[in-house]
């Protein structure tokens, strides 16, 4: 993973010192709240529904065990003993005191972390495939490019006050696990006919109250031109993006207004006019960054699939293998997903104890590296197949072997009204109710892949538009109600969900999900995904069951 050099270290330490001084001046009144608020937001510190919340960047979702331990220590010392992993591969602490916030930033700096650009109208944490460098279907490792983008965007003077926040996602694999179509810029590593590495460039995707899928503005951009081209996109956006209306300020609105083609032409013109050579990523630069992402020292292992024998004897192990263990590009290695879900868990929450246990296991079994997924789970990315049984036992003891990854109960949920000042309804209790309604693991496995995403307001941090089943919490005269959408997807052939029908009160949501799943189980063809069935039948087939069922219930 990327290690700070002296420049990075000095810069981050300097920022901590500045913030400590700013907090002191706020507390003694030399700074007013209006003066201080932008400063605290620039350091990731929000005032939420109950308290200050600190959002910490986890660049492209990669953590060392040392960093994870530091996060655990922060949770224990400065918070109430837990943190929350978000859909942007970040972590949030919910209960940070202002008079201790600089101490937290100092503790983060010790392990080469910070909260810079986790808020505000700037380029946010660049996200990527949580299986980067691991997945067998990878064309090239996206992490060095993510790191170059991070360095380029950090405190970029021209892009510190964009019309609105700006999110970039990169995938290097054939299967899109980074949801690039719903980002301001989505980048997909591709090869041209000659085998050279480049990017397909999408712009103008996003969720929120105007969900739009990104449009391709370039089929192939040579990888060395990445920074210049992205800079050109940002320039066009910075110049023409709307600043008069916060709801129309994201790049997606500009791309829609101009049309993707015209927007693409404006970017090309900007790009042609700039010093492209000066912006080019030369081989030396890429190599220097890439050394930080060199593969760990994998052993040469002989046995092709040692886990199979044990799976024959242990059905629970077999279930875990089936859902939580993924193939690795290196023979005899596997990626192991740890679901922060199920059993009444708050999606994405992890206690200090859990983080420390995962750090231990990462050191024992996975070269001390941990990934955070945008689905709010953790990954141990490099586990030798012959260690799987031992790891499974250890995870089981820690309550972390829930074999539900990718199933109905592997729910994405934003903090919602339990924490978020912008929320219109709670999201977590809905996730827990669905979790309780689908407690039978055998049934979950029978249903198979099915993504449920829940947002507590139209800002859509819970990605409800792109869930197989999306759930949006809405405020109706002070009461919480929930709107269901079906048929969303953030993967390849991304699509936005279609609203199923009238909103439901909280106690009817899990039942409605149950009836939707019943329709899927009754009507699916062998191998047919939920998405394919919704596309084949249309939502009306589900609507009749959900709302018909409710009438029957009421009668």
């Amino acid at each position: 993973m990327y290690r700070y050099d002296q420049l990075d270290r000095t810069f981050v330490a300097e920022r901590v010192r500045q913030f400590r001084d700013q907090v002191a001046r706020r507390l003694d009144g030399r700074l007013t709240e209006d003066e201080f608020k932008p400063l605290r937001l620039q350091n990731g510190l929000y005032l939420q529904l109950h308290a200050y919340m600190l959002r910490v960047a986890i660049p492209y979702g990669v953590l060392s065990s040392r960093q994870l331990r530091a996060l655990a220590a922060i949770a224990r010392t400065y918070d109430k003993g837990y943190g929350h992993y978000t859909t942007r591969q970040n972590i949030q602490f919910n209960w940070i005191r202002l008079d201790q916030a600089a101490d937290v930033l100092a503790a983060l700096a010790e392990v080469e972390m910070h909260a810079i650009q986790t808020s505000g109208n700037c380029v946010r944490n660049v996200t990527t495939d949580h299986l980067a460098g691991i997945a067998p279907d990878e064309i090239a490792d996206p992490r060095p490019y993510c790191e170059l983008l991070r360095q380029w965007s950090t405190l970029h003077p021209e892009f510190s006050f964009l019309p609105r926040k700006f999110k970039i996602a990169v995938t290097g694999a054939e299967a899109d696990r980074a949801a690039i179509a719903v980002h301001d810029i989505g980048l997909r590593l591709v090869l041209d006919a000659a085998g050279a590495v480049g990017f397909e460039v999408l712009v103008g995707g996003g969720l929120g109250r105007t969900p739009i899928l990104g449009s391709v503005i370039r089929r192939f951009l040579p990888a060395s031109d990445l920074l210049g081209y992205v800079e050109a996109i940002l320039r066009v956006y910075n110049r023409y993006g709307r600043r008069d209306n916060i709801y129309k300020a994201r790049i997606k609105i500009l791309v829609k207004a101009l049309g993707a083609e015209a927007f693409g032409r404006a970017v090309e013109a900007e790009w042609q006019a700039m010093d492209r050579d000066g912006m080019a990523i030369d081989a030396g630069m890429l190599d220097r960054v890439a050394t930080h992402f060199a593969p760990p020292a994998y052993a040469e292992l002989a046995d092709a699939a040692p886990e199979r024998a044990q799976a024959m004897r242990e059905p629970a192990f077999a279930r875990w293998l089936a859902r939580n263990v993924l193939p690795h590009r290196v023979p005899c290695y596997r990626a192991v997903m740890i679901a922060l879900k199920g059993g009444g868990a708050v999606p994405g929450d992890a206690t200090a104890e859990t983080m420390e246990r995962v750090a231990d296991l990462a050191e024992l079994f996975s070269f001390g590296e941990i990934r955070v997924t945008h689905t709010q789970n953790l990954v141990l990315g490099h586990v030798a197949a012959h260690d799987l049984a031992a790891l499974w036992h250890a995870l089981r003891v820690a309550g972390l072997a829930n074999p539900v990854v990718g199933t109905v109960t592997d729910i994405i949920a934003c903090p919602g009204l339990d924490y978020c000042a912008l929320a219109t309804a709670r999201a977590i209790p809905i996730a827990q109710a669905i979790d309780a309604a689908f407690a039978d693991v055998a049934e979950l496995h029978d249903i198979g892949d099915l993504r449920i995403n829940i947002s507590g307001c139209i800002n859509s941090c819970g990605h409800h538009h792109v869930g197989d089943i999306g759930i949006l919490g809405v405020d109706k005269r002070g009461q919480e109600v929930y709107q269901l959408t079906l048929g969303g997807s953030s993967a390849d052939e991304a699509s936005l969900g279609t609203i199923l029908g009238p909103s439901l009160p909280p106690d009817q949501v899990a039942g409605a999900v149950r009836r939707v799943v019943d329709v899927y189980m009754e009507r699916r063809e062998p191998g047919e995904s939920f998405l394919a069935l919704v596309r084949r039948l249309g939502v009306d087939a589900f609507k009749a069951r959900v709302y018909g069922g409710l009438e029957a219930h009421a009668a």
Binding site: R26, L27, D28, G29, E33, L47, L49, H50, A51, Y52, K80, G81, Y82, N94, W95, I96, R97, L98, D99, V346, D349, T351, L417, D418, Y419, A423, T424, A425, R426, I428, P429, Q432, D475, G478, Q479, E480
Partner: protein, 97 residues
């Protein structure tokens, strides 16, 4: 009749606090149940106190919350949002601690 309580966050800790007024004296409490409940006239006077407190750097973002008074000095919230804000997260790790 309409009733209100005044709420804000402590500048230093971030905690949700409530204005409690006794005669000419006032203070901030973290226990919602001990907040003072006032009518529309009191609301304006108390909000002025709260705003002065904000200028004194003790609290941030004060505002008046609509409530239903029970007639005995207590009250209930009218929206889920305000009751969650007063009671804390309704689920999960926050409850255990």
């Amino acid at each position: 009749m309409e009733h209100y309580v005044i709420s804000a966050n402590s500048l230093r800790s971030g905690a949700v606090v409530w204005l409690r007024v006794v005669g000419d004296a006032f203070g901030w409490t973290e226990a919602a149940a001990t907040a003072s409940v006032g009518d529309a006239a009191q609301r304006d006077a108390w909000l002025a106190i709260a705003e002065a407190e904000a200028r004194q750097n003790r609290v941030v973002a004060p505002y008046a919350v609509d409530v239903v008074a029970d007639g005995a000095g207590g009250f209930t919230h009218t929206s889920t949002r305000e009751s969650v804000r007063a009671g804390g997260p309704t689920v999960g790790n926050a409850l255990a601690r």
